[in-house]
Symmetry: C2
Subunit: 307 residues, 2 copies
């Protein structure tokens, strides 16, 4: 069973948190046009009971079914930029929600200027994308940073909240039990049978994880800054380095560019996506990226990454 | 090799017409929402070198690739009615054509009121659907007949031109050769070395074939009339007969309805499509239809029918 409230569990060391789902599923990994193997851009991020979509290209609703990602339970959709291949599937998904239930669950849409939906979806709230924190939850937040591609192009940063972790044995030996764990987090200290205990004496901070998705983006300082120290960078790699000129002209990145960004941003891991249909066998892309940044993989449709 | 001009070939009995492609491919056979197995409504009709699409639901461009139906060589698209599940894929396909070539081949679009495309597709000509012959070619024509579903709902009739076939042995025995075969078709008679030969003496008329696609349609007289004597009726079967009330309310057909229409219209063959996602195993639909009209099949994605 997945816990319904990870916050509560994290704050309550007396319960063992058996499952904590933090999983990314690549729903579509092609760039521009689909292929038989690769669908249009979309990726799902499941964080405990929340399900977020980043981009929603044509066919995304079917990919959600195909790869068994909580179809019908998406909480928020973020569209990186107003190019049709990144958002056409939104309309099909909204229509399916509307038809399948008299009262679909609430859905937050974060859309760049130029992407509009009909007014027959009262269950959806639309916010226009801006450079800012878009979604703030107790356990995570999602923010958008402008990148160079077309007008209103953004990358997205998913940042997990830092967590307080207890040295349980030490805390217990100092007399802590039950609600004292809550109290010490609120007040920074707590009185036990053996005296006063300071939070810093019995706990440590586990930094939240950071995932960055580039959307479509030319190689540039913006994305390097946004990706700084990320646990995972998901970056477009529309071209190989032999097509650097084309990448520059069209404000896309090469696999080598993406690897350079990963290296300079000091990320832990890089996954390339938005692979041009011309690369039916993208091993050359992988090779050129790994030469710069070894911890690189290439996404495929249905690829799941547990974090 | 497929001939480029079937008309010329048919009129020239000295050439053997080795391949004459007349094939239907079911690209998407679900109704309303997709499933893992069934995509959104679309079917392709390949008639010699012409490729026509009827409906173009979300994901059709990828289905064209998946089922190897001349991707990028569609000549005309007919949208049966203005419900999103039947036309969303049009936008993805148009965008792909625009991006993939500086001058895509000409495309005729026949769209019901309520379906509009952006003006960045100069290669596409849009005609509004009306009750009439839509497309007239030397070898076939496509017409639309209103049916009961939503506003501006149509079924489509594909009618092959009748062909003159020669009793070749008899014609030759009466002295006919070479260009005389063309002349006799124009004038109804021709002079040979042995005297005058009448067209009716040396030829017979092979009636053109007729295929009817219902689009979404309630059972009604319109579709029975439209389907009269068809070689193939492709009819929606959104519900089973136990859900007749729902079918009536929503102006759809049951499998039994479709079979009744096939029977009353005296068609040769019936294929059911637009199967509701609730029927993961549609054998009950097939059974109830065959009880009324034995020559029934159920379409599946990728099903090809050679005519």
């Amino acid at each position: 069973m997945h816990g319904k409230n990870p916050k509560r569990m994290a704050n309550n060391p007396s319960r063992i948190h058996i499952f904590f789902m933090f999983q990314i599923t690549f729903l579509g990994t092609s760039g521009g046009t689909p292929t038989v193997e690769r669908g249009m851009p979309a990726l799902a991020l499941k964080y405990e009971s929340d399900l977020l979509l980043f981009d929603c290209g044509e066919g995304t609703q079917r990919q959600l079914m195909r790869y068994k990602v909580g179809y019908g339970s998406v909480d928020a959709i973020f569209i990186s930029h107003p190019h049709l291949d990144h958002y056409l599937g939104l309309f099909g998904y909204l229509e399916t929600l509307r038809l399948s239930s008299p009262s679909p669950r609430h859905l937050d849409l974060f859309l760049p200027r130029g992407v509009e939906i009909a007014d027959r979806y009262p269950f959806a709230t639309v916010a226009q994308l801006k450079k800012k924190d878009l979604l703030k939850k107790p356990d995570y937040e999602v923010s958008a940073i402008p990148v160079k591609h077309c007008r209103d192009s953004f990358c997205f940063i998913f940042r997990e909240a830092d967590r307080i972790k207890f040295h349980e044995e030490k805390a217990h030996s100092l007399g802590m039990s039950g609600t004292m764990f809550k109290e010490i987090q609120k007040k920074g200290k707590v009185k036990t049978g053996t005296g006063e205990v300071l939070l810093s004496d019995v706990s440590w901070v586990k930094p939240g994880r950071k995932i960055v998705y580039s959307g479509d983006s030319a190689a540039g300082e913006e994305i390097i800054e946004a990706a700084q120290g990320a646990d995972l960078l998901i970056h477009e790699a529309t071209f190989d380095k032999a097509r650097k000129t084309e990448a520059l002209e069209r404000l896309h990145s090469t696999a080598e560019d993406a690897a350079g960004i990963a290296k300079r941003a000091g990320v832990k891991r890089l996954i390339l996506t938005h692979i041009s249909p011309r690369y039916s066998e993208p091993s050359a892309l992988l090779e050129e990226a790994r030469a710069v940044f070894p911890e690189t993989e290439i996404a495929f449709d249905g690829m799941k990454v547990d974090l």
